[in-house]
Amino acid sequence: MKAGSNLEKVLAAGHFAATGELGPPKSADREVIEKKAGYLKGHVDAVNITDCQTAVVRMSSISVGTMLLGLGLEPTIQMTCRDRNRIAIQADLLGAAALGIKNLLCLTGDHQKFGNHPRAKNVFDLDSMQLLQMVKAMRDEKRFECGEEMEGREPRFFIGAAANPFADPFEYRPHRLAKKVAAGADFIQTQIVFNVPKFAEFMKKVCDLGLHEKVYILAGVSPIKTLGAARYMAKFVPGMDVPDEMVRRMKESPKEKREEEGIQICVEIIQQVREIPGVAGIHLMAIEWEEAVPEITERAGLLPRPQV
């Protein structure tokens, strides 16, 4: 065991994992966290807490992670390279580990141009690959990035990384995943999968490289709530591949039944990716729609979650 988290144990035991996601509020409201946590508890093995996703200021990932621990959920904190240099990242991770957080997703981070502070100065002292290396060295070699040895307890995280099978260059993506594994990733959560055949093609290359035996790969899934959201993701989100068929299904569904259709599509995708060799679980991102999680996990046959 690297960190002995629930997620790590579920995966190590060979169960098909299910992780969720919780977007922190743009305020200091603890109640929002409690409410969202209620929808997720018991339905997933661990909950990702985004780190100011799309560069919008929100309650910090580590603080929400600590709240989730208190509420009896296992957090996976996210750490991006956009806002912190190697000094701040290491300091925050020491604190997160001391607070009892055991899962960590290492990301480069969305550019601040997309957020609510586009005039901010960014950091990008490290990239996600180097962040993975640093975190692994802190855990396995007990040393800081500078090489200095750590006295006392080292931060032990089950280390995650992201992969986008749909971004370009498509043929490079499995190799980039291989780099992340070499850098230290224990598990991978992918970009939201809507185009299942293309994801299967990606996974075939990943398996050909033998990566599925070295890292747990969780396929990202998400329910589409509205026709507008489907169209927006299809047209305007770089690195997102939403087939016309999905947009058509949302469009042809009566307006009052679109949420149901979105959930149905999500359930179908979960069932499809589960059959793809090398997929160890799913990462369900019901962004600002956490209340859909119980129904999706139930209908996809993911409940009850294993007790390990």
Binding site: R82, D127, A162, N164, A167, D168, P169, A182, P238
Partner: protein
């Protein structure tokens, strides 16, 4: 070259509001080539300011001069007499030129007429693009001659992020994804193995993060100075 562009006229007018006799000093090097602060631009700006300030009912005098290279003292000596006559200097050089005049003629205030934007090249007539960030530790040998520090929006060193699509950067459809360019280039050179290796954490201390930089070449220094 150093690429710059002229500040908005209103901003320049506000800067020179308190002065009557203004010497505009252009530079014959980089900013001439990028049509921002050469002899021609000095003439155009002087005319524009004469008209604009006259319309505002102000009585100002604009003198014009252009030196070969404003970042070196010896070229600026040519305008020493004109500087004496002026109330203020409006430099149409990059920030280096402005500061050279400031150091060389401390009795006069030198104002910047340009915004120094980046180190780059003209990619086509009328278009300039950034190519170097002067990080002090060149990585071009590892990236097929395309700089990810200057040209990737996140200065990534280990390949394209998830926002690379159709060869473009997620932050702007007019910006090429540097890592797509690097990938294509290394593929053509049969050197894709360079993209399979992890590039370790970069030492940014050779860049601006290490504090203001200077180079001392003992082999070039004059006896008296050393």
């Amino acid at each position: 070259m150093i690429v710059a562009e002229q500040k908005p006229l209103d901003e320049i007018k506000a800067m020179i509001a308190d002065y009557e006799k203004i010497l505009i000093v252009g530079c014959g090097t980089c900013v001439t080539v990028c049509f921002a602060g050469g002899e021609k631009e000095v003439g155009i700006l002087a005319s524009s300011l004469r008209m604009a300030t006259k319309l505002d009912g102000q009585n100002k005098e604009f003198l014009e001069a252009t030196v070969q290279r404003q970042c070196e003292y010896e070229y600026n000596e040519e305008v020493a007499e004109q500087i004496k006559e002026a109330d203020v200097i409006l430099s149409l050089a990059c920030g280096i030129g402005v500061q050279t005049l400031t150091e060389q003629f401390p009795e006069k205030l030198t104002l910047p007429g340009l915004n120094t934007t980046f180190l780059g090249q003209p990619t086509e007539q009328g278009v300039w693009a950034e190519r170097c960030q002067a990080c002090g530790d060149c990585v071009l040998a590892l990236t097929g001659g395309i700089c990810p520090i200057a040209r990737c929006s996140k200065s990534l060193l280990n390949g394209p992020c998830g926002g690379s699509q159709n060869g473009k950067c997620e932050i702007d459809p007019d910006i090429d994804c540097a890592w797509q360019l690097i990938y294509d280039r290394l593929k053509a050179l049969d050197k894709l193995d360079l993209m399979m290796q992890i590039k370790p954490v970069k030492d940014w201390s050779t860049g601006r993060d290490g504090g203001p930089r200077r180079i001392v070449r003992e082999d070039l220094r004059l006896e008296a100075a050393s």
